[in-house]
């Protein structure tokens, strides 16, 4: 299906979240043909981040999750690289 045109804030949140999860939660961009997966790697990593910070585990970029991602923090990853 065509990617829906995300509103700018949602798109920006996606970009912020992707960069954050790559840096701190070892999100990797799958190489080669996109495998059809029940849950996207991004959603899995959002859940992992929410569990780490004791947030409600929704798998979505809700406001609490985005607020946590925008907080000043240490640059060391939260999961083993």
């Amino acid at each position: 299906s065509l990617p829906i045109a995300l509103p700018s804030t949602a798109k920006n949140d996606e970009e912020v979240a992707e960069a954050y999860l790559k840096r701190f939660f070892n999100l990797t961009t799958p190489e080669g043909p996109i495998q059809r997966r029940r849950i996207s790697p991004m959603t899995e990593k959002v859940r992992e981040m929410q569990r780490f910070f004791g947030l409600k585990v929704t798998g979505t970029l809700d406001s609490d999750t985005m607020q946590m991602m925008n907080k000043p923090r240490c640059g060391v990853p939260d999961v083993a690289q």
Binding site: F24, F52, F53, G54, L55, K56, V57, D64, M68, K71, P72, R73, C74, G75, V76, D78, A80
Partner: protein, 372 residues
């Protein structure tokens, strides 16, 4: 707490450190002092000892740099990432880098260098991040007064797992005075400072922390109070949500703060005398808005006041003795909230549930709403 894979640590307890350059944000001696104190945080609870050197390669090389600064992890400008450090090993291992695009200070403005450095040196010694929101090794920065800083127990357990206790203290026996611990929601002896609803959530305060309980899910979040509201004090006395004004009022001593949603309302704190309470009331132990009577109920000592927000006056015939209004809760109330017509009063480790006619229905544990 957590350590790095393989529990890597230094194979020695005498370590050297070198300050390679300085931030222009602070005086040189203030940077020296902040970094020295940050290392002493860890030396105090372990056999680790730190010696400063001024040339050559130290185990812990400390530097300030912005953007791309010589390793594969460029900084990101103001805020965001504040600093990073490398786990113990030869070469870059143990080194700590601070983002020069931040404003580092000795106080509460900007980012307190002592606090950031104490966290980064935890990495330099072998600790990874903690999920405990009260731990120094929690990844997100939150300001605490450096003069009263005490290494939390979670961090002490982590660093002593790697290096053992400080042999110079009590002959190396575990410290009888453990560091501050983050309130445990599942401690059956848990008591609360204050409780309120907030637009459908329940907010339960304890010490420097609060829990957010979401009615539609059993999950509960725990955060530092200052993570959401840096302006609020710790150890809140009382809190209630006014359905008249859509505000949450929070009390400590003779002062009151207000929230609109999750936002602090400007112009607070105010004195509780502005509420029209008698001057004899110098502190409120608990507060709740009673939907039935449309009054705010204030508990202080063994007495209860019924307060009309519209007229800003205490109702006739009050104060009354708590036990005459809410039989069974005893002579004091720590916290109070109302939810779906039921009133919940907290006293120590127990909570009593009352019907809207104020008939005692159940005795529950204080942590009933905390999803244990």
């Amino acid at each position: 707490y957590s350590t790095f894979q393989g529990n890597i640590k230094w194979p020695k307890t005498s370590l050297t450190y070198r300050i390679e350059n300085y931030t222009p944000d602070m005086a040189v001696q203030d940077v020296d002092r902040a970094l020295e104190r940050a290392l002493q945080v860890w030396a105090k609870v372990t056999p680790l000892r730190f010696t400063r050197i001024y040339s050559g390669t130290a185990d812990i090389m400390i530097s300030f740099g912005a953007g791309v600064h010589g390793d594969y992890y460029p900084f990101d400008g103001p805020d965001g990432t504040l600093a990073h450090a490398f786990a113990p090993s030869e070469g870059i291992g143990g080194d700590a880098h601070f983002d020069e695009d931040e404003t580092f200070t000795s106080g509460s403005m900007g980012y307190n260098l002592f606090l950031v450095a104490a966290h980064e040196f935890g990495h330099s010694l072998g600790l990874s991040h903690s999920t405990d929101p009260g731990a120094l090794m929690f990844p997100v920065y939150s300001y605490v007064d450096p003069d009263t800083f005490s290494l939390p127990q979670d961090d002490i357990k982590g660093i002593q797992f790697l290096y053992g206790p400080n042999p110079d203290v009590d002959g190396g026996n575990p410290d009888p005075n453990p560091g501050p611990t983050t309130p445990n929601a599942c401690d059956p002896r848990l008591s609360l400072d204050a409780a309120t609803t907030l637009r459908g959530e329940k907010i339960l305060f304890k010490g420097s922390f609060f829990w957010r309980s979401f009615s539609q899910s059993s999950q509960v979040e725990q955060h530092r109070i200052k993570y959401f509201w840096p302006e609020l004090p710790d150890n809140i006395d009382a809190a209630y949500e006014s359905l008249e004004s859509d505000r949450v009022y929070l009390f400590k001593g003779n002062q009151v703060w207000a929230l609109f949603g999750y936002d602090i309302v400007q112009g607070y704190p105010k004195s509780i005398t502005t509420l029209g309470l008698p001057r004899s009331v110098t502190k409120i132990d608990a507060a709740v808005y009673d939907e039935q009577s449309r009054k705010a109920l204030f508990f202080t000592g063994n007495q209860i006041y019924s307060y009309d927000e519209a007229t800003r006056k205490v109702d006739q015939g009050f104060p009354k003795s708590i036990k005459d209004v809410f039989p069974g809760i005893g002579n004091k109330v720590d916290a109070a909230l109302q939810d779906r017509g039921f009133t919940y009063l907290f006293n120590g480790q127990y909570m009593m549930e009352y019907s809207y006619t104020r008939r005692a229905l159940r005795v529950l544990y204080t942590n009933y709403f905390l999803g244990c």
